[in-house]
Symmetry: C2
Subunit: 132 residues, 2 copies
DNA sequence: GACAAATGATACTATTGTAGTATCATTATA
DNA sequence: TATAATGATACTACAATAGTATCATTTGTC
């Protein structure tokens, strides 16, 4: 079970690279060369990050991607939210059927507690904090 | 993302049912009737639990499944281990390639920390503790 | 001993989510 | 106007989860 999928991981690395780069705008070419990720896959990820307001893109020659905000303001939870959906560890498999426990299901309580905890920790992780 | 898959969830409920039952040995028929799970799927799960030493089975007429040990000694982490493999939240996608960070990868540290935490909490959850 | 009621073993299919590719349209710069 | 970039979108590939189907084996009861 992975807490972070490849989508999110690649996004993370790309954003870190851009944040560290002296040039504000970085092209996919440069990212692919440096980070060794599959080009079309990375492109898809970056386009998504642009749509979601994490990056901004510049088209045309000398174009590329830049941070839309600062590294302090981008959090791991943002990326997870975009690529993996809201963090939910506690989906009940008996949704539609009669789950006699429902509100007082011990298991649900336990897992919800864990979820809240995990979320709290991930929420603290900004891109900035990953840059060294 | 699910912390617990359906396998594990069904196993949990079946074991709880057996633990609560006055009869020590419970047949699949009874479990299916009470828990509304797909019969062949549940059968597969129970057979696995037998092989893994969580349950013991009795073949033939009046046969069925019983706890192999007590409810105090079966933990959620056991079931997760069986059906989902060892809990690992921190797989690095750059294993085979040159991950320049390796040992000092911030992200890895953070996720390993979370993993240890989650594991600690899950380890405390016994079947007994879920019975009310 | 025959039959019925149970599990054991095993191989197969279905569904879903993740990972990745391919292609054509659009934009900006030189 | 050519070229170097991204935008949009539709498609394929792979792996994990979820589930089915079937035949073999064991055991209790008449």
């Amino acid at each position: 079970m992975k807490l972070i999928t490849r989508n999110t991981d690649y996004a993370l690395r790309a954003i870190c690279y851009i944040a560290k780069s002296k040039k504000k705008v970085v092209s996919v070419n440069e990212l692919v060369a440096s980070l060794k990720m599959p080009r079309p896959f990375l492109r898809k990820i970056l386009q998504r990050l642009n749509r979601e307001g994490i990056l901004r893109s510049l088209k045309g020659a000398n174009g590329g991607f830049a941070l839309h905000t600062t590294a302090e303001k981008i959090f791991l939870t943002d990326l997870i939210g975009i690529f993996q959906g809201a963090l939910k560890l506690n989906e009940c498999f008996f949704k539609r059927k009669i789950c006699p426990n429902k509100s007082k299901c011990n298991l649900k309580k336990i897992i919800s507690g864990i979820e809240a905890d995990v979320f709290k920790k991930l929420k603290k992780v900004s891109i900035r904090s990953l840059l060294d």
